[in-house]
Structure formats: structure tokens, C-alpha cells
């Protein structure tokens, strides 16, 4: 975990230095580069120092929350990223919830009724979902629901009619703030929810398929275990056998996969989905920064996302221990 963090910082650090072109120009942008500013930047970045010193400076300033200034907006990068973070998390968490709530039960059903029609259907849908290009799927959903049926909005987080003060940054929460409800009633919340549906569905597709597949294979393995037979021999109802005895054990790989999915869904899904739905989150910001060759932003994004991934992995390890007593006990004993 520590080595991965180290690797992430190294990657972010060298990113700018291996890019073809002058790192100073990359960092301050090619537009406003008069010699004065250039020299100032060289000193500020410590580019006259050795690489190791530069790297240490980079890490120290990163620790202090200084990741540079965006070339495009001339604002602090960290501020820009943090301002967009809630939108991405809101979308990612909604997508993962949908995926989990539909995918896991579907996988259980497929495993319990193995080789039935239901199993076949669930597995067919899941391999489709697994193979679908997200960016296309989003467009297809827009075609069906926004253009064809006209029941969902096409883009954004909320209708421009509403003026919602960003308190938490999570639109679903901000629209429920007392003064907002006072002004608009619950229509703002409804609008935010409506805007969330399609992007969340788009993002949920791949994790849903993965959840269903993982759950199924994990359940199939557990269902053939001796303790499931014991549970049946106790005279427990099939429902209890499946959910209390089998499912809990099957959860262990599901949680691991879920964690990995969380990361890939939130980040990968965000990059493509946010671009399609003009969702003002981190993913779209990164893509736009790449278009604008805004290297400080790219550098900071890699760093923050790397840290995020490491944290999520740590959380998964913890959950893993909580579910699996054999692992948890060993850890606490040592």
C-alpha cells in the first residue's frame, strides 16, 4: 500500500518531466509565458535543483495541499478538483448502488436456480452488459429515454431554472436543504433525481454485470460446501440456508470485486459517462484538461485518484477482515 502510494507520487511527478516539451511551459501554459514569469516559475518549481530535491519538494507541497495552479482557470488545482469531487461521488455511488442491488440478487438467483431459464437469461444479459461500450450505451439510453420517450433530461445535474447553493456539493442533499425546499418545494430534488437516473444507469451497467457474474460463481462454490449441507440437515428453510449460511460466505469475493468495481466505476465510468451527460464532475474535468493540455490538473488528478484508490483498497481489506472471521482474528491477534 505504501509502495503503491510512492509509485503514484513518482508517476505524477515524472509525468510532466517525460512529456515532450519544456516542463515549465507545460506547467504555466504556453500562452502567458513572458521571460519574467518563466524565471519566477523555474525558481518556484525549484527546477534548478536536482531531480530528487524536486521530487521531495513536490511531495511536501502536495502534503500541504498545494498541487499547483490550473493553466486554464488560474485557480488552485486542488480546489477545482475538490469542488467537482462530490458530483462524481454522487454519480458513482448511485451507480454502484443500482449495480449492487440488482446484480447481487440476480447472481444469487442464477446460482440457486442453476441451469434454469432464469440463470440463462441473467447470464446472457450479464455478458452483454460486461461487453458494452459505456460511451455508446449512454447515447443509446439518451436516444431511448430522452429523445424517444422524452422522460429524462439529456445533460447536467439539474435544470438551470433552479439556483441551488452548493452546501455539501451533493445535489441530492443540497436540494433538500430547508431554504431550497422553502423556495422550490421538492421539485428541485425531483429534477436532480431525474438528471441522475440516466448517467447512473449508464455507469451501473458494467458493474451490474460483474456483480451478477461474481455473485453467481461465488454462490455456486459456497452452495456445494459441507456447511450448507449441514444447514439443510438442520431443517432450515431454503431461504435461510441461502441467505444466512451461503450468502454470507459468498460475500467475501463479492466485497473484493465490489471494491475494485467501486474504483473503476467511479473513475473510468465517470470519465466517459460524465463526458456524455455533461456531468460537471472530476472525469469530465480531467478530459477537458487533457484537451487543453492543462498538465497541473492532470498531475494532480493522478495523484488524488491514486490516493483514493489506495484508501478504498485499505477499506476493502478492513471489510474483508470484518466478514471473514478467520482473517479478522488473525490480524487482531498479531
Amino acid at each position: 500500500m505504501a509502495t503503491t502510494l510512492l509509485g503514484v507520487t513518482l508517476l505524477a511527478f515524472f509525468l510532466i518531466r517525460v512529456a515532450p516539451g519544456d516542463p515549465v511551459l507545460l506547467l504555466i501554459g504556453e500562452r502567458g509565458s513572458d521571460p519574467e514569469q518563466y524565471r519566477e516559475m523555474v525558481v518556484r518549481l525549484g527546477l534548478d535543483n536536482s531531480l530528487i530535491v524536486q521530487y521531495l519538494q513536490f511531495v511536501v507541497s502536495a502534503l500541504q495541499g498545494d498541487l499547483g495552479v490550473s493553466v486554464v482557470s488560474q485557480q488552485s488545482v486542488i480546489g477545482e478538483l475538490l469542488a467537482r469531487w462530490p458530483a462524481t461521488i454522487e454519480l458513482g455511488v448511485s451507480a454502484l448502488l443500482i449495480a449492487c442491488l440488482l446484480g447481487v440478487p440476480a447472481g444469487v438467483i442464477a446460482a440457486v436456480y442453476r441451469n434454469s431459464v432464469a440463470d440463462f437469461l441473467i447470464m446472457s444479459v450479464s455478458i452483454f452488459g460486461y461487453s458494452i461500450p459505456v460511451f455508446w450505451w449512454g447515447l443509446v439510453l439518451i436516444m431511448c429515454f430522452s429523445i424517444g420517450l422524452d422522460i429524462t433530461p439529456v445533460a447536467g445535474r439539474i435544470d438551470i431554472l433552479y439556483d441551488i447553493p452548493p452546501v455539501t456539493g451533493f445535489m441530492l442533499m443540497d436540494t433538500l436543504a430547508p431554504q431550497v425546499v422553502q423556495e422550490y418545494g421538492f421539485s428541485a430534488f425531483g429534477s436532480a433525481l431525474g438528471h441522475l437516473v440516466l448517467p447512473a444507469l449508464t455507469m451501473a451497467t458494467i458493474p451490474l454485470a460483474v456483480f451478477a457474474r461474481t455473485t453467481r460463481s461465488s454462490m455456486l462454490e459456497v452452495l456445494s460446501e459441507d456447511y450448507v449441507r449441514t444447514a439443510r440437515a438442520k431443517g432450515l428453510s431454503e431461504f435461510r440456508v441461502i441467505w444466512r449460511h451461503a450468502f454470507r460466505n459468498a460475500l467475501i469475493p463479492i466485497v473484493t470485486v465490489g471494491g475494485v468495481l467501486f474504483v473503476t466505476t467511479v473513475i473510468t465510468g465517470a470519465i466517459l459517462t460524465e463526458t456524455i451527460f455533461a456531468w460537471p464532475g472530476v472525469g469530465r474535468y480531467i478530459v477537458n484538461s487533457v484537451y487543453a493540455r492543462d498538465y497541473p490538473v492532470i498531475q494532480a488528478s493522478i495523484l488524488l485518484i491514486g490516493i483514493f484508490v489506495v484508501l478504498v483498497n485499505g477499506l476493502i481489506d478492513y471489510l474483508y477482515g470484518a466478514i471473514n472471521p478467520a482473517v479478522g482474528r488473525r490480524d487482531s491477534a498479531s
Binding site: 458494452i132 461500450p133 460511451f135 450505451w137 436516444m143 473503476t264 478530459v287 488528478s301
Partner: protein
């Protein structure tokens, strides 16, 4: 030897994989043979813009034309060629590098192993699309750089599987015996360890193909990979976006082609995994 022959016989993946295999073969034929037989050009501009599909295989723009009057069918066919060709290059290069690194890590262990595996962990921990975008951002956008990016991302899967197979095999008695009988390390690797890595590597290659095609298409869609006018499915999709309301088929067709190709590779990969590598069936 026997193992190699057996793999030869098992090339047809079986079950649903066979269907995927047939689809891929027909896509290959379509992409690489059809342009030789038919008069197809993905760039030729006709007077008729945004012509609707005729669905008549005998009339010329079978699937209509795009906003510049280019034959959609021709573009899709060249797109297949593009995706499969790039997929092949990506998988081939990342396979060679990945297998090499995996063998190195597995055989020599120690700091070399640690270094390689840390790099692999780093690559695996960051989401692949993000990594691809960042690599493209560093190298500059364009199809060539997109291919480099996707190739780099494709490496870790091979390293991991080959490394674990190598470590497993090196502990087996017959490998020990080969060493004991005085064979050189390289020889043992080549004749004893590598053949055992073939089944899982084939599986990873099939799955790597589908990932590579998806990623190339995604980069093309974001405008960071193939650039217009190249007939690449992802870029075509991006080009067609403005016509989503008036001519939805322009959007549907390239995406459906990506889906079909990726789905076929996944079917083949799954079937191969079930057949060749039951241990990995859970992953």
C-alpha cells in the same frame, strides 16, 4: 509435447465461445477480404449526405451514408479492420513484453520481482481508461500514441499470470529434475515452464483483445485516439453524436459493431477459460 498438441485441438473454444469465434472470423473476413473484393472506400464522398440505409445488399450504400456522404458500410468494414488490427498489435506486443517480464519476475525473484510487481500493481491500481488518457496526454493525442497507451495497460495481466504460473512450475519436481540433470535455466524455461503458461496466456489474450478494442474505441470517442477522417468505430461514434436525434442509426451502428466484437471476444475468452483453465474460472 502432448500438451501442445492438445491445445492445438482445443482452439475451437466450445459452447457459446464457438458462436463468438464464428462472429470474429466473419468480422476478420469482412474487414480484410471484403475491401479486396468489393469497391469500398471509407473516404470517398458522394453527393448524397445522410442517406438512409437501403437494407438492400445489392444497392450501393447498404447502410446509407454519413454526414459527409461517405458510405457507412465501407466505414464500418474498415472500422473492423482498424479495431481488429490494432487489437492484434496491442495484444501481441503486450503479450510478448508481459510474458517476458512475468518470466523474469518468476524465475529470478528478489528485487527484480519486487520491482516488476510494484510496477504492475501501480498500473493495475489506476483505472485503465484514466491511465490511457494520461499516457495520451503526455505523449500527445493520436492513434499511434493511443496504441502505445493501450499496449502499456495491457501488459500487467500477462505479467501476473505468467509470474504465478512460473513460480508454481518452478517448484514442481520435474522442473527440479530438469535442473538437476544439468539443463540450463533458459532451456528449462523454454521447454518446461513456458508450455505450461500457454493456456492461461491464451485466455488472457482473448480477454485482453476485448479490453484493448474497448479502450481504443473509448479514446477515439474522446477524440484522443483515432482522428477523423480515419474510419475507427469510436471516432465514428463521436462524429455521429450531433445527429443523434435526426439520424440515430449513425450512432447505433458503430457502437453495435464494438459491442458485437467485444462480446465475441469475451465469449471466446470465457469459453477458453472454462476449458483450459478451470482454476481461473472464478476471477
Amino acid at each position: 509435447m502432448q500438451a501442445r498438441i492438445a491445445i492445438g485441438f482445443r482452439l475451437m473454444p466450445g459452447g457459446w465461445g464457438n458462436i463468438g469465434f464464428l462472429v470474429l472470423v466473419s468480422l476478420l473476413l469482412l474487414g480484410f477480404i471484403a475491401p479486396l473484393l468489393l469497391d469500398l472506400s471509407p473516404y470517398r464522398i458522394s453527393a448524397e449526405l445522410l442517406a438512409p440505409p437501403s437494407w438492400n445488399p445489392l444497392s450501393v450504400p447498404v447502410l446509407g451514408t454519413d454526414d459527409l456522404g461517405r458510405d457507412m458500410f465501407a466505414r464500418l468494414v474498415y472500422g473492423a479492420r482498424c479495431s481488429l488490427g490494432i487489437g492484434f498489435v496491442v495484444v501481441a506486443v503486450s503479450l510478448v513484453i508481459g510474458v517476458g517480464l512475468g518470466l523474469l519476475a518468476g524465475v529470478y525473484g528478489g528485487w527484480l520481482d519486487a520491482l516488476i510487481m510494484r510496477l504492475v500493481d501501480l498500473l493495475m491500481c489506476l483505472p485503465s481508461i484514466l491511465l490511457a488518457i494520461v499516457i495520451v496526454a503526455v505523449l500527445g493525442s493520436g492513434l499511434g500514441n493511443a496504441i502505445v497507451a493501450v499496449t502499456i495497460i495491457g501488459i500487467p495481466r500477462f505479467v501476473r499470470v505468467v509470474r504465478s504460473m512460473t513460480i508454481q512450475e518452478m517448484q514442481k519436481t520435474y522442473v527440479m529434475a530438469a535442473f538437476a540433470s544439468g539443463s540450463s535455466r533458459l532451456r528449462v524455461l523454454w521447454s518446461e515452464v513456458l508450455p505450461n503458461c500457454v493456456p492461461p496466456v491464451i485466455v488472457q489474450a482473448a480477454l485482453g483483445f476485448s479490453d484493448a478494442i474497448l479502450e481504443i474505441a473509448a479514446l477515439g470517442f474522446l477524440g484522443l485516439g483515432a482522428k477523423p477522417p480515419v474510419a475507427e468505430w469510436g471516432a465514428m461514434l463521436a462524429d455521429a453524436r450531433p445527429f443523434i436525434e435526426s439520424h440515430p442509426l449513425l450512432v447505433v451502428m458503430p457502437g453495435a459493431c464494438i459491442l458485437l466484437t467485444v462480446l465475441s471476444f469475451n465469449l471466446v475468452g470465457d469459453a477458453l477459460r472454462d476449458r483450459l483453465d478451470p482454476k481461473l474460472a472464478r476471477l
